[in-house]
Amino acid sequence: MSELALFLIRIGFVAVLWVFILSLLSVIRADLYGRRVISRIAKQNAPMLTAGSAASLGIEDGDSFDPTEIAVLTGRTAGTNIPLENKKEVLIGRAPSSDMVISDEFASSMHAKLVHVGPDWVLQDLNSTNGTNLDGKKITTPVTIRPGMTIRIGTTTFELRS
């Protein structure tokens, strides 16, 4: 090998290393300026149960119960409250973007949701792996929450309070 060729190879190697590193900047640029996040699921599928569709699901009206917060009774976030004012629905699950995050191995990323139907709050399980329990019974259809009912997801239990 001639001296010149070795010299070029030696410069070339360090240059290739740097080109590699600089090319990664394209990814990091997205970190700095943000990437658009479009939540397709939330837009198209989440409103399975809405104020309008509730009647067709056969959810009867009951006594008026107007809770203002979710009180967490047991689990890792025991003792905390989540306000319900001005909310149409509350998504519950392990996913970071849920309204109520449950960091629990037994919770699915989108586990259940509470929907405000008329004066009532209706609990619906979103096909979670381990199910949602209302007063000790696993729910299969959307159920209206009555005062004093406790909801259990994994090791977390909570209730609605006015």
């Binding site: 030696r10 190697f13 360090v14 990664l24 973007s97």
Partner: protein, 454 residues
């Protein structure tokens, strides 16, 4: 889409491959090319011709990296796309450098060869990383046994001091050996410690951060909340005394300080911790000859009495001369004299790379480490779960701090320690531990991005 139920829609959307996996595949091709370039350059410079030998050092790690990529595609589709290529690039550069030192050793007629072992250890470590990804798909399972992880870490740290299996090299008691097999348990301990700290701090951060009286505008925690920091300070001092290694002690205590600071947001802990650590290190340097000797070599490496002392600054000075010879663009792979540095294939691989790749090359390597740490911190930043946040932060910080301590030691900025250069240095336990950290970071990034990508 409107007629598709939610249960059907999720798997349909998840089948669309995220950008990060395809980007990772492209980067892996690129990295494999860089490795081939390095090996070819070494062969050309040392023996003036290329031989098929290089395939032996190139193909097995590349195949292992692709297997890991396949496992990521299968189980953690949304994991970070940069971590695997970056770690693999460092790993392959390490193999190339060790191969180059082996060639020099063969020319000298020596028989201390490391490259072949390093190739198979790298493959093993990458396959273990694949297994870790498969087993720990949900990082929350790590939260179940914090105290068990802590106890296991303490046992691992004490093992090198055990009578039969403990081994001491260069004054540091960091190894255990059973027959021909030697292992550095401290490397695995850093993973377990991060899991322990994260689990402990998530459950205790309330009392640790909020209770206490205000003195001079600073909130001083209650005496009983100071317990853990004192306990851990004693433990890391014990590591310093038993293992005779300042680096290991600083690494674990630094990890603890950063994690407690992140969990509580109180500078008080960092302040008092740094004071305690510096005091401890200074006292140790007075009391124990081996720590004192390291300090002397660091403060005056060119003094004749330090240079000629056994285990003195000879190695450090050889490394400094090597890096000076490397200049800005380096002597070129295979064209320098890194074989003149004692332990160039393990403790001083940083100096060996500094000589052959120069300042530009060493900055590139530091930039790769920086990117790995940056990706780790980003995972910690975007994750919503507190435990996962702390864990990702702990892992990336411990990698970064280790690089700082090692590089600082080799450059004469810090006292020399027995820590290894992550991914580059020859040694199976370090590779295993660091690839496991990468695997856990990948799993953590997947669990944080799963929702966003949907």
């Amino acid at each position: 889409m409107s007629n598709v139920s939610l249960t059907q829609a999720i798997p349909m959307l998840l089948k669309a491959v995220p950008r990060s996996r395809n980007f990772e595949a492209v980067l892996l091709f690129w990295v494999a090319g860089i490795h081939a370039f390095a090996l070819a350059q070494i062969q050309l410079a040392v023996s003036q011709r290329m031989s098929w030998d290089m395939l032996y050092y190139w193909a097995p790690p590349t195949i292992s990296a692709w297997i890991l990529h396949y496992v990521l595609r299968k189980y953690v589709l949304n994991a970070d796309g940069l971590l695997l290529p970056l770690a693999f690039l460092l790993n392959g550069l390490g193999i190339a450098m060790i191969y180059r030192l082996d060639l020099a050793e063969i020319t000298r007629g020596g028989e201390d060869l490391f490259a072949e072992r390093q190739v198979w250890l790298s493959c093993f470590a990458m396959l273990m990383a694949a297994i870790v990804v498969r087993l720990v798909r949900n990082p929350l399972v790590l939260r179940r046994f914090p105290y068990l992880a802590g106890a296991a870490a303490v046992v691992l740290l004490l093992l090198p001091a055990a009578p039969v299996i403990g081994r001491t090299f260069n004054g540091a008691t960091l190894w255990i050996a059973i027959g021909d097999l030697s292992f550095q348990p401290g490397e695995i301990a850093k993973i377990l410690l991060a899991i322990f700290f994260a689990g402990y701090l998530v459950s205790r951060k309330g009392p640790l951060s909020e209770i206490g009286s205000r003195v001079l505008g600073m909130r001083i925690p209650r005496a009983k909340d100071l317990g853990p920091i004192l306990l851990f300070w004693v433990a890391s001092m014990a590591v310093l005394v038993i293992q005779r290694d300042l680096g290991t002690s600083i690494l674990y205590f630094g990890l603890f300080l950063v994690m407690i600071y992140t969990a509580t947001g109180r500078g008080f802990y960092v302040g008092i911790g740094l004071v305690m650590m510096v005091t401890g290190a200074l006292v140790a340097s007075r009391l124990f000859g081996y720590v004192g000797a390291r300090f002397d070599s660091w403060l005056a490496p060119f003094a004749t009495e330090n240079y000629t002392a056994p285990g003195g600054s000879y190695q450090l000075v050889q490394g400094l001369f090597g890096m000076a010879h490397g200049d800005v663009i380096g002597a070129g792979l295979g064209s320098g004299f890194p074989q003149l540095i004692p332990l160039a294939e393990s403790d001083f691989i940083f100096a060996a790379l500094g000589e052959e790749l120069g300042l530009a090359g060493i900055f590139a390597i530091l930039a790769i480490y920086l990117l790995i740490v940056y990706r780790g911190l980003r995972i910690a930043n975007t994750h919503q779960d507190d435990f996962s946040k702390l864990l990702a932060l702990g892992f990336s910080f411990v990698l970064g701090l280790q690089v700082f301590i090692v590089a600082g030691g080799v450059m004469g900025l810090l006292p020399l320690t027995g820590l290894t250069t992550p991914f580059l240095a020859a040694g199976g336990s370090a590779l295993l531990a660091n690839w496991s950290i990468i695997a856990l970071l990948l799993v953590l990034s997947d669990s944080s991005l799963r929702r966003v990508k949907e």
